[in-house]
C-alpha cells in the first residue's frame, strides 16, 4: 500500500514537472496586412522550432482599424495584445506616457546598435528603445527610364523640384493617358499630408514655429501648395484627389505615370514583372529638394512594441527579438531571396554584398539616411517627425488640413482659401489643446 502510494505521488510529481516544462505561453500579435508581415507569418516554423514553449496568435487588421484597436486597448489596459505593430508616429507618444515596455535589456547578440541610426532615433526616448523596427521606409522618386529618355532628359541621382516639374511636363501625353507625375491626393494625415508635409520641409516650411504657432500663412507653405497643385493639375492623372498609395501604384504599374514620388517599399512592387507592366523600365532617384538643405522625403517604420501592461512581456520580447534580428533577415533571404528581405532597419543588411545587388537597395538606404526626424525642417521646430508631428493631436489635425488641400486639388477651393482654412483650424485646435497660450 505504502509502495503504491509512493509510486502514485511520484507519478503526480513527474506529471506536474512535465506540465511546467511544457507550459505553453500564448502571445497575441496585432499586425497590418502587408507583404513583409504576411511573409513572417509563413516563416513561423523557425520560431516554433526555436521556442516550442511560445505559441503566437495573429490578429491582422487594416491599418486604420489596427491603429484604433491598439490605441483603445493600450489606453484602457485591455490586455488583448502582447505585441503590437505600431508606426514611428505612435512610439514616441506612447513611450513618453509609459505605455510601452522598454527593450533596452535585449541580449548583446541582438546588436541594437546595428539598427539604422535614423530609425533608432525615432524609437528612442531618453536613451530607452521602446520598439524594434520590423521594416523601415523613406520616399523617393520612381520614374520610367524609357519615357525619360524619350523626353530627352537624364534623371540626376538627387533631382530638384524644378527638374521634376520640367520632366513632368515633357513626359505628359494626355491623349495616350500618360501622365508626367502621380502624387498622393487622398485626404488623410498618412495620405496626402505625409507627402505634402515632407515636400514642405524641402521648401523651408514647417507646421509650427518654436512657440507652436501654426505656419500655414507663410510664403513657404504657399509655394509648396501652389507648386503641388500646378504640377498635379497640369501633368497629373484625372481624379487625383482620390488617389492614395494603392491607386498610384496601380496607375504606375499599368504604365500611366512618368514619375511617382512615394514610399521606397513600392520599389519591389513596381519592379515585379508579375504585377507590373513596366517592371524593367523603372529608375530611382532621391526625393527632390529646393536647394535649402532638406529633401522632400519622409521616414517611416513599422515596429513591434510591447504594451507595458502585458502579462507575458518575456515571451513577447523573445518574439520581438526573433522577428527583428539579423538571423530573421538571413532566414527570409534563404527562403524567398534577398529582394524580399524587410528593408530599412539594419546597417549590416546594407553592408551585405548580396543585398547590394538588389536594384533599389542603395537608393532606399540613401533616402532613409537623408531624413532626420529630430531636425526635419530648415528652420527649428519644437517637434519630432518628418512627415508628421509627434503629438497626439496630429492625427485629427493632419486629416483636417489634408481635407482642405485635397479639396483644393479637386478644384473646390483655391490654394489661398485652403491655406487660410488650414491656418484657422490649426490655430483653433492648438489653442484648445493648450499649446498656444
Amino acid at each position: 500500500m505504502n509502495m503504491k502510494l509512493r509510486a502514485l505521488m511520484g507519478a503526480c510529481a513527474l506529471g506536474a514537472l512535465s506540465t511546467t516544462a511544457f507550459a505553453e505561453t500564448t502571445i497575441t500579435v496585432a499586425t497590418v496586412n502587408n507583404g513583409d508581415m504576411i511573409r513572417m507569418q509563413g516563416l513561423m516554423e523557425d520560431f516554433n522550432k526555436k521556442h516550442p514553449d511560445i505559441k503566437v496568435q495573429w490578429v491582422t487588421l487594416e491599418e486604420n482599424v489596427l491603429r484604433q484597436r491598439v490605441t483603445q486597448d493600450i489606453a484602457t489596459k485591455g490586455g488583448q495584445f502582447d505585441v503590437m505593430t505600431i508606426g514611428t508616429y505612435e512610439v514616441p507618444i506612447w513611450g513618453q506616457r509609459g505605455w510601452l515596455a522598454d527593450l533596452n535589456d535585449l541580449p548583446a547578440s541582438y546588436d541594437a546598435n546595428d539598427i539604422l541610426p535614423a530609425i533608432r532615433n525615432g524609437l528612442t526616448i531618453e536613451g530607452k528603445l521602446y520598439a524594434a523596427p520590423f521594416y523601415g521606409e523613406s520616399s523617393m522618386v520612381m520614374y520610367r527610364t524609357d519615357l525619360m529618355k524619350a523626353a530627352g532628359l537624364d534623371m540626376p541621382a538627387a533631382p530638384t523640384w524644378d527638374f521634376i516639374k520640367q520632366a513632368a511636363e515633357k513626359m505628359t501625353d494626355k491623349s495616350k493617358e500618360q501622365y508626367g507625375i502621380c502624387l498622393r491626393g487622398k485626404a488623410g494625415w498618412g495620405e496626402n499630408m505625409a507627402f505634402l508635409t515632407a515636400m514642405s520641409n524641402s521648401y523651408g516650411a514647417r507646421w509650427f514655429d518654436e512657440k507652436w504657432k501654426p505656419q500655414f500663412d507663410t510664403a513657404a507653405w504657399k509655394a509648396t501648395l501652389t507648386d503641388y497643385l500646378d504640377m498635379m493639375n497640369k501633368f497629373g492623372p484625372p481624379g487625383a484627389s482620390a488617389n492614395g498609395f494603392n491607386e498610384n501604384l496601380a496607375l504606375f504599374q499599368s504604365g500611366k505615370c512618368g514619375m511617382w514620388i512615394d514610399a521606397t517599399v513600392a520599389a519591389s512592387f513596381v519592379t515585379n514583372p508579375k504585377d507590373s507592366k513596366v517592371a524593367d523600365k523603372v529608375g530611382f532617384a532621391l526625393a527632390p529638394d529646393k536647394g535649402l538643405g532638406k529633401r522632400g522625403n519622409w521616414l517611416w517604420a513599422w515596429n513591434l512594441g510591447i504594451p507595458a501592461g502585458s502579462k507575458k512581456v518575456e515571451a513577447a520580447k523573445t518574439f520581438v527579438e526573433w522577428a527583428t534580428s539579423k538571423d530573421y533577415l538571413s532566414l527570409v533571404a534563404s527562403k524567398e531571396g534577398w529582394a524580399n528581405v524587410p528593408p530599412g532597419t539594419r546597417t549590416s543588411l546594407y553592408e551585405n554584398p548580396e543585398y547590394a545587388k538588389v536594384p533599389f537597395a542603395k537608393m532606399t538606404l540613401e533616402s532613409i539616411n537623408a531624413a532626420d526626424p529630430t531636425h526635419p525642417t530648415v528652420d527649428p521646430v519644437p517637434y519630432v517627425g518628418v512627415q508628421f508631428v509627434a503629438i497626439p493631436e496630429f492625427q485629427g489635425l493632419g486629416t483636417a488640413v489634408g481635407q482642405q488641400f485635397s479639396a483644393a486639388l479637386a478644384g473646390q477651393i483655391t490654394a489661398d482659401k485652403a491655406l487660410e482654412n488650414a491656418q484657422a483650424l490649426t490655430v483653433r485646435e492648438m489653442t484648445k489643446a493648450g499649446y498656444i497660450k
Binding site: A30, G35, Q57, V59, E62, E63, G79, F245, F269, K274
Partner: protein
Amino acid sequence: MARQVKTSRKIAFTVIAWGVGLAIFFPILWTFLTSFKTEADAIADPPLFLNFHWTLENYTAVQERSDYFSHFMNSVIISVGSTLAGLVIAVPAAWAMAFVPGKRTKDVLMWMLSTKMLPPVGVLVPLYLLFRDAGLLDTRIGLVIVLTLINLPIIIWMLYTYFREIPGEILEAARMDGASLKAEILYVLTPMAVPGIASTLLLNIILAWNEAFWTLNLTAANAAPLTAFIASYSSPEGLFYAKLSAASTMAIAPILIMGWFSQKQLVRGLTFGAVK
C-alpha cells in the same frame, strides 16, 4: 386598347424591377468576379468583366493564410446565439405590449427604438472597460450579449407588429379554457405567429452576421468572426483587391445561400400586415 396599356406598363415595371435588382446585386457580382482575377487584372483600366484569366489562386492564398473554419464557427455561434437569446426576451415583451397595452406602451416602444439612434462608437469605451473588467473581451459569450442587446429593439418591434395582427379574442378564449400564461404564449400565440417569428429570426441572423463594429472592436484572436476575417485582407501598401474579394465571397456565401433558400419566408414575414 386598355389591355395593351396594361401590358406595356407591366413590361416597364418588369424592366425597372430588373434594373433595380441588378443594380443592388451588382457589387456582390463584381466582388465574386474579382475573386477569380489576378491582382493585376483586378485593377485593370478599363475594368475587365468576363474576359480575364480566371484563377483560383486567391482562394488558395486565403485558405493557406487564414483559419476560415474557426471564423465561420464564431460567426454561426454569435449570430444564432444572439438571435435566440433575443427571441427569448422579446416574445414575452412583445406579447405584453401587444395584448396588455398600458398607458405608456407607445412611449416604451419609442424609447427602445431610440437606443438605436445613438452611434455605437459613443458607448465604445465604457463598454470596452466593462468587458475588460468582466473578462468578456474576445469571448463569444461577450459578443452574444452585446449583439442580443443591440438587436433587441428591432426584434421586439417586429414581433409587436406581428402580434398585433393576431385577434386578442383567440388568446382570451384560451384563457377561459384555463390556459396558463406560459401555455398561452407557448401553445397558442407562438404557433400562430410562426411566420413572423421565423422572418424575425432570419433577419436578425443576417444583421448579426454582418455586424462589423462591435465584432471588430471587442475581439482579437479567439472570438473573431468572419467580419474580422474580411478586415484582415485590406492593405495599406500593395495590391489586395482580388484576395479581399475572395475573402469577402467566402464570408458572405453562407448567409447569401441561407437568404436564398428562405427568401419566401423572409418576404412573407416582412410584408405581413402591410396591406390593410
